[in-house]
């Protein structure tokens, strides 16, 4: 097996042996259980006339609640990716664990790519697995499914990969705690930058709107989150948003349009840049 894949396997094995995967599975199942119970309640609540809600209203409320629940999942994914990626290389350099491995015929680039690959597999599995369970639970409880579930998984998974890539770059130079904290703060700032850009769009102020564009270019997590929201919005809700005009854009839990294609192309380039930066940074680091 090539060294890159050996390192990737080792990374997956480590998270498994350290019971991170087990903890995430248990927590996810608990959240899925509670949210299934909550979503089921939507179908049984009554309005002021004493009647249960009509199916269209159930679907609308469910879609909005699902966006909030997904925000929590994307937060867990981002948090986990940042916390796990933060010490990925730095802790092994500091402890000396990498010394004996790098004395083997292993390139530093293979270590970086292998670690990224191992965690990327976990991020993808978590995004797909949690979405599968949550959407199955929502479907069972309310009969509602978001219009684009596959795109939803891709956007949320990509958001986790962005945080993982950022954490990896930082971990080539900074200690685990510092790298993890910076990645988390960057994620929150990226979200706030996106909200500021939305306000600019709502006010039709180009300068303020550009804050969102620039923040999306620097750290595309919020852009991908908007893509996930768009994948969850039913057509009727989208039509209402569009009818409301630019004001409807000033909402961090709504998306009128999917992320533009050039932006998605930039995300791919961004991943490449982060990996190249990680490799260069680790190659030039003294260990």
């Amino acid at each position: 097996m090539p060294p890159t894949l050996v390192i990737a396997r080792l990374t997956v094995q480590e998270t498994s042996r350290r019971r991170l995967i087990l903890a995430l599975i248990i927590l996810t199942l608990i959240v899925v259980g509670f949210s299934a119970w909550g979503f089921h309640k939507i179908t049984t609540v009554t309005n002021s006339a004493g009647n249960t809600l009509p199916p269209e209203q159930v679907a609308l409320i469910t879609s909005q609640l699902l966006i909030v629940v997904t925000f929590m999942y994307s937060g867990v994914l981002a948090l986990s990716a940042a916390v796990v990626a933060g010490p990925l290389i730095s802790s092994e350099v500091e402890s000396g664990l990498l010394l004996s491995m790098l004395a083997r015929p292993v390139r530093r680039s293979e270590v970086v790519i292998g670690k990224w690959l191992g965690l990327a597999v976990l991020v993808a599995l978590y995004a797909a697995g949690s979405a599968l369970f949550e959407l199955a639970a929502v479907d069972w409880a309310t009969g509602y499914l978001p219009p684009h579930p596959v795109q939803l998984v891709l956007y949320v998974g990509a958001e986790g990969l962005v945080l993982l890539s950022l954490g990896l770059v930082l971990s080539t130079r900074l200690s685990g705690i510092t790298g993890g904290v910076i990645a988390l703060v960057a994620w929150l700032m990226g979200w706030i930058g996106g909200v500021v850009g939305d306000v600019g769009a709502g006010l039709q102020n180009q300068a303020v709107e550009n804050v969102g564009v620039i923040s999306h270019l620097i750290l595309p997590t919020d852009l991908l989150w908007r893509g996930a929201i768009y994948a969850m919005e039913p057509d009727a809700f989208l039509a209402t948003l569009r009818a409301a005009g630019t004001v409807a854009r000033a909402n961090p839990f709504a998306a009128v349009d999917p992320p533009p294609l050039p932006f998605l192309g930039w995300v791919v380039v961004w991943f490449g840049l982060m990996l190249a930066l990680s490799i260069w940074s680790f190659r030039t680091r003294e260990i």
């Binding site: 097996m1 060294p3 050996v6 080792l10 094995q13 480590e14 042996r17 350290r18 402890s95 000396g96 664990l97 010394l99 004996s100 491995m101 790098l102 004395a103 083997r104 015929p105 292993v106 390139r107 003294e286 260990i287």
Partner: protein, 277 residues
């Protein structure tokens, strides 16, 4: 400086002299700012050469969540060794370092000494042509140190070159064919043990000498001053009567004079003192 195949080479120096840095440079873990070196006939940093090299770092640490056997399997895979040979290689390495009984236990349950033994086992995998051992006995008890000396002798007997970084001079003296002494990143002496330890050291037990009196004795060469015990690290035996009469003349009372062959420690201290001057 050259280390031939099959030789046990000791690399000595005080803390911060550059011993570990030199090993990391040779292994390609650090990039040199100037100069050049080659390993097994290839420039340093060559990936293919690393297939034939074993390395026990001074800062030894292995995946605590793997078992000893799994750590060695990982190193077999990275080396890379043919999969068919892994089982025999791992069994033999574990047996050599005395960890057979703990092969299936997680490394996180190992003592520091056991982890160092595991590191040594990893360095022995695949019958390397050159083994770097950086302070290989720093965490070991006397039995462990004896075992490591035996392992080093075994490596040398099958033609493996061993580059031993250590500041345990008695250990180096026992196993090394040749040594180099390094200080502030520079080799200040090198040669075989016989070449380096050709002088005689004289130990004198004396009282009644003050600092000025001891200063007068500098004419007899470097002195390792341990209070009442003064060791003249390189003094010819025919100068002993002159030394004793000088001490008596300075008001000192001589209780014991014992000339002996210079040890590596005597020579090491002498070299460092000369270097400081």
């Amino acid at each position: 400086m050259t280390v031939p195949r099959g030789e046990v080479f000791g690399f000595l120096g005080p803390n911060g002299a550059g011993k570990t840095t030199s090993v990391k440079l040779l292994l390609g873990l650090l990039k040199p700012t100037s100069g050049h070196a080659s390993l097994l006939g290839r420039p340093i940093g060559d990936l293919q050469t690393r297939r034939k090299i074993g390395y026990l770092p001074e800062l030894f640490r292995y995946q605590g969540w793997l078992s000893a056997r799994e750590v060695l399997a990982l190193h077999c895979e990275l080396a890379p060794l043919p999969r068919s040979s892994w089982k025999d290689e791992i069994t033999s390495a574990l047996e050599t370092v005395g960890l057979t009984d703990r092969a299936g236990d997680r490394v996180s349950t190992f003592s520091k000494g056991m982890q160092q033994r595991l590191g040594l086992a990893a360095a022995l995998l695949g019958e390397p042509e050159l083994v770097f051992l950086d302070e290989p006995t720093s965490a070991l008890d006397p039995v462990g140190r004896h075992d490591v000396r035996e392992i080093i002798r075994g490596l040398a007997s099958r033609g493996t070159a061993v580059f031993l970084n250590s500041h345990l001079l008695s250990e180096v003296e026992q196993v090394c064919d040749r040594v180099a002494v390094v200080d502030h990143g520079r080799v200040i002496a090198s040669g075989t043990m016989d070449e380096l330890l050709s002088g005689t050291a004289v130990k004198v037990r004396v009282t009644g000498l003050d600092g000025a009196g001891k200063g007068e004795l500098a004419a007899f060469g470097n002195i390792d001053d341990e209070g009442d015990h003064l060791t003249f690290t390189n003094l010819k035996p025919d100068r002993v009567p002159e030394l004793v009469s000088t001490i008596v003349g300075l008001g000192g009372k001589v209780f014991e004079v014992s000339p002996r062959h210079q040890t590596l420690e005597d020579r090491f201290l002498q070299l460092l003192e000369e270097e400081e001057k």
